[in-house]
Symmetry: C2
Subunit: 336 residues, 2 copies
Amino acid sequence: MSHGSPSENSILERILKRMADSTKNLSGRAAHLGIGDDAALFRPKRGHEVILTCDWFLEGTHFLREKHPPDAVGWKCLARALSDVAAMGGVPRCFLLSLAMPESHTGRWLDAFLGGLRRASRKFDCTLAGGDTTRQRKILINVTVVGEIPNARAVLRSGARAGDIIYVTGRLGEAELGLRILRSSRSPVRPSNPFLKKHLYPDPRLAVGQWLAEKRLATSMMDLSDGLSTDLPRLCVASGVGADVENEKLPVVQHPSAGRGPGVDPLQLALHGGDDYELLFTVPWKMAKDLPRSLIGVALTPIGRITERPGVKMLEGNGHERQLVAGGWDSFRNTR
Amino acid sequence: MSHGSPSENSILERILKRMADSTKNLSGRAAHLGIGDDAALFRPKRGHEVILTCDWFLEGTHFLREKHPPDAVGWKCLARALSDVAAMGGVPRCFLLSLAMPESHTGRWLDAFLGGLRRASRKFDCTLAGGDTTRQRKILINVTVVGEIPNARAVLRSGARAGDIIYVTGRLGEAELGLRILRSSRSPVRPSNPFLKKHLYPDPRLAVGQWLAEKRLATSMMDLSDGLSTDLPRLCVASGVGADVENEKLPVVQHPSAGRGPGVDPLQLALHGGDDYELLFTVPWKMAKDLPRSLIGVALTPIGRITERPGVKMLEGNGHERQLVAGGWDSFRNTR
């Protein structure tokens, strides 16, 4: 027992202090409730369902202590959980932060982490409502995000029907390219290029998701966290359908050395790169013609079509077809 | 990349299979939503607030892989989070399970873990709604519990007033004694005695908490997770009050060797033992006389009184007084 060491209470105090303006009154009663009480209270809007999602963000698995700036760790642990709310078409309301860390990181590292977390919390209007802290050798983070959506309006993975057009937002593979840049750099980095920024500070597609749900345009939706080749089959299985994807339509990375340097194959990045946090969704073909090419600056790109036949097929430009094999991120298969 | 190793998907499938009857329709739509979709949907009752709480349960910090039966790990990770809902006076509805583990434990250990989790889920009527799984060297668990309570009825820590009578449920220190028995045993144990059972399979005081909230009897409430000497000062600080506790009134452990063997001091156990998951609450003195001595088999024991003067004082039988010094569980001070 060392008296000089910060206690759980002092970690909580630090979080409270740094996140003060992000912990507002959620229930019309005491402020900061949940931080300093047994649990948080949240009063959803009438006629709304509550959206619940939680995400691990673990040192060594999801980020590297020496490579990822603490500010980006704070931003991303919230942003990626928010992406799940975006994928339902919901509006985020509050989050719970579970944080375990070594004492050595409860000073400057924690402050920078909370800085990034606070920026994401403000930008996406998602309030810190509570959490749990403890000591660990490794930095362990778990974020639970609570959102809401009008009753029966949430877009599920299971609604895709044969003939629907498959869309993705943004560009695929950029975050993976950013991760490669980060890994090959020798020292802690600043997000000096857009790929690095996409990897470090993903921008969950909340506005697009909400728009699609509100307009009832999407029959199914999910976010691309593990790569298209892993996630599209998941959507297909949930919907009991298959898919044809046209290689040439994929919005791949635009990179000066793409296709020239070794290891930078834009198609492979687009198919198998993880962490993009773009949306994958399906739209009935009759409604697809009314869909804009972009929304609030985010491209909406048709990449193929849902089929009755199960399995995901890649249609190549030369008329060849092949089965799409999952090569995305799965922490029980890779050790990346 | 090894093809024989279980993937995240197969872990999820195992959870789904074992918890099948605990993952019922939460929102009036698809069953199992959240497991297999981006997020879970939950429709709270009209006029109710949502209670949100999350809790770490980490190997090495909160349980020992070699000492704690996996069935008990499954039970306890949910039960202790439910205790936070009890402490608000709420009714649990569903939970999210974040689970990280080594591949070596995704077979028998996981099955036994899910067995205990399912029993707790059924007993306390709290449905698995979603979660996140990943691979780690250590077993890491984070549980988010979602409950509900009529608007403005939740009992907070901050409502204690001078003159209120301080109560606890059950007996204090039993779980700590159970932990000592567990630690001194040579092999994996079966809960053959009540102290061990209290440590391994805590029974969150949901019915008592709900009764106190419904009858508007409690001015403040919290659960005893870190020991009275740590938790009572927290309640006092939150309420801006102090407390006088009468040593002789504490419901200490009844143990054949208590007070005789070395290390088993019932008073010290009651003051500083953690993990009891009993409720600590305050009742206006005028209403205290109407409080039964026990409720649904759980003792309700007055142990002292809230004071205007800050600080927590122990009143000893011999007329002596002393300041209560926190000696309970705080993971940033202890390494237990």
